[in-house]
């Protein structure tokens, strides 16, 4: 028999006459479906590509959403999903934490797809998106300015989540994910109220999580900027009826701007100059705010909060566990120092990046648009829902005719 590492042998094992000491048999882990899921995601992105670009049918896309919800939400393990794997990638890259191959595939495949065919991942292959897309009810149209402002939330979430993962705070996104309790069928979730709030919000607003909070959506937006294939609303000449604009609840349709008077141009130029001049100021402000916000994140870090509790001589379970473990104090203070350093630099960088993002968006807004006279889809924001095909008066008869033929 092997010697015990930490079990105290106060009472030696007795010698029995007939009784045999049972062996400890433990179950194997359940089958890990991650690789299979990566394959299924490719298949679903292919299907949604066909439904969106070829069939141009919202019905088919909704069916695909339903299928995706069942397959990725309930048949497979819903966790980890590409949205949460953002954190594994950051942690793995920063600390060398284990990063399974399946995670890498789950993370990169949708991004590669976005690089060529736009955000097809959001249309069917993502259980979170599918759940929100299938929410019934007439969706509110938020004013474009408010929509743009709220969308900054996703960038903020991405940066915060990356800082947390790199600093070793854990994966806050996976703990707070509002839809995960549904997929895990868990009513013991600490943030179940968030689920209720987001389900109710989903009845009023189209895809509230995807648009305003999803960190993976930010990456998909960036990658789909260079997307090769772009959706067009109608193959005919656009008659500028504005129906698609009103039909899109995701504010993903760009309307032509007709005001190209010299006065307007002058105003635009002035605004652009102002924005360009204020870039250094904005960056400095962002960096400073990030740096100043660092102490807010300290209590979430295990070593830092433990050190604080030890200093204040508080009684807590973590303190008991630390004293029992008899770890050297130097180890703890080193871990706390590292945590503080990472959080501080991480948040400063995050502040800088956030400011840069805000400025870039403002500049893109302020720059002069190429002269157009059609409504087109902003493919970086488009969730490939197919609503605009349905509302377009030129497209609808064509599609229904196509249906009749096939």
């Amino acid at each position: 028999m092997t010697p015990f590492l930490f079990a105290q042998a106060r009472f030696p094992a007795p010698e029995f006459d007939t009784y045999r000491i049972p062996e400890l048999v433990m179950e194997e882990a359940v089958f890990d479906s991650s690789l299979l899921r990566a394959g299924a995601i490719v298949l679903f992105m292919l299907c949604s590509g066909i439904c969106f670009y070829r069939l141009r049918s919202r019905k088919a896309l909704l069916l695909l959403h339903l299928l995706g919800l069942v397959v990725f939400g309930f048949l497979f393990h819903a966790c980890p999903c590409p949205v949460g794997i953002v954190q594994n990638i950051a942690e793995g890259a920063a600390t060398g934490a284990p990063l399974p191959l399946a995670f890498l595939l789950l993370f990169t495949l949708p991004l590669l797809c976005a690089l060529f065919y736009g955000r097809l991942f959001c249309a069917g292959a993502c259980p979170l998106g599918a759940l929100q897309e299938l929410m019934p009810g007439k969706k509110l149209h938020l004013p474009p300015a408010l929509d743009r402002f709220l969308r900054l939330g996703a960038v903020l979430v991405l940066l915060l989540v990356l800082v947390c993962a790199v600093a070793g705070i854990g994966f806050p996104l996976c703990r707070l994910d509002p839809y995960l309790p549904i997929f895990l069928r868990s009513f013991n979730h600490p943030y179940l109220w968030l689920t209720v709030v987001f389900l109710l919000l989903g009845l009023l607003i189209s895809r509230p999580f995807c648009r305003y909070l999803c960190p993976y959506g930010v990456l998909l937006r960036l990658f789909s900027l260079l997307s090769w294939k772009k959706p067009i609303i109608t193959t005919h000449d656009c008659i500028n009826c504005r129906l698609c604009l009103q039909g899109c609840p995701n504010n993903a349709i760009i309307a032509p701007e007709n005001d190209d008077s010299p006065a307007q141009r002058k105003r635009g130029l002035r605004r652009l100059e102002l924005l360009l001049a204020s870039i250094p100021l904005a960056l400095a402000l962002g960096g400073f705010l990030g740096y100043a916000a660092a102490p807010l994140l300290y209590p979430q870090h295990r070593a830092i909060s433990l050190e604080q509790k030890l200093q204040r001589a508080e009684s807590a379970l973590t303190v008991d566990a630390y004293e029992k473990s008899q770890r050297p104090a130097a180890e703890l203070s080193a871990a706390a120092d590292r945590g503080r350093r990472v959080i501080r630099t991480g948040l400063t960088l995050a502040g800088l990046l956030f400011a840069a993002w805000v400025m870039a968006e403002l500049i893109v807004q302020a720059r002069r648009r190429p002269e157009e006279n059609i409504h087109r889809i902003d493919h970086t924001l488009c969730f490939c829902c197919g609503r605009c095909y349905q509302t377009c008066p030129l497209e609808k008869p064509r599609l229904s005719q196509q249906d009749r033929k096939t």
């Binding site: 015990f4 400890l24 284990p98 979730h189 990658f223």
Partner: protein
């Protein structure tokens, strides 16, 4: 090659490069990982019973018989302030009566965990570690665990006893040689 194509290939390379570097550095990261409790760090706070998103928890008490003393008066089985050594609920440590005690031969008894009843409160583990051999300990059972990306117990474990283990060695047993 136009600008867009150039940028796209640049993006692809930038995306792939860190991963390629990673894999060259550490090849052992390929298979999946699972959450497990390191029994040497566990302080039996009882959070495993309440923090798991599953109810009852995916953590269960495990009895390593080879380390057990088969005591007549097991400190994992009986309360500290018991009135009598009998099977009345007020004298037993387990709140859900998950420990089955069977007579083997004088004066030895076998203690078996009924995993259908066990809620992973860790009370017996604490009692056994305090006065006995420490043959009882808590483990995440992988036939139950959903393997969340962020384990909800790990997030609140005061001892930091939850670690990611390779899927090929899913349990951390108490003896050195028996670790699978």
């Amino acid at each position: 090659m136009n600008r867009r194509n150039f940028l796209r290939s640049l993006f692809t390379v930038l995306l792939a490069a860190p991963f390629a570097l990673r894999f060259r550095r550490n090849k052992s990261v390929l298979p999946g990982t699972l959450w497990q409790i390191d029994p040497s760090k566990c302080i039996q706070c009882g959070k495993c019973a309440t923090a798991c998103i599953l109810r009852p928890s995916a953590v269960k008490c495990v009895h390593q018989y080879a380390a057990c003393g088969y005591c007549l008066f097991c400190s994992g089985y009986y309360q500290d302030n018991r009135l009598k050594f009998d099977t009345a609920a007020e004298n037993l440590r387990c709140p859900v009566d998950a420990i089955e005690r069977t007579y083997i031969e004088d004066p030895y008894f076998e203690y078996k965990i009924n995993e259908d009843k066990c809620i992973a409160c860790g009370k017996c583990v604490k009692g056994c570690a305090a006065f006995g051999n420490g043959s009882l300990f808590l483990q995440v059972r992988h036939n139950l665990c959903l393997n969340c990306n962020q384990c909800h117990i790990a997030a609140v474990c005061p001892a930091g006893a939850f670690v990611r283990v390779p899927a090929s060695r899913p349990y951390i047993f108490k003896s050195a040689g028996e670790a699978k």
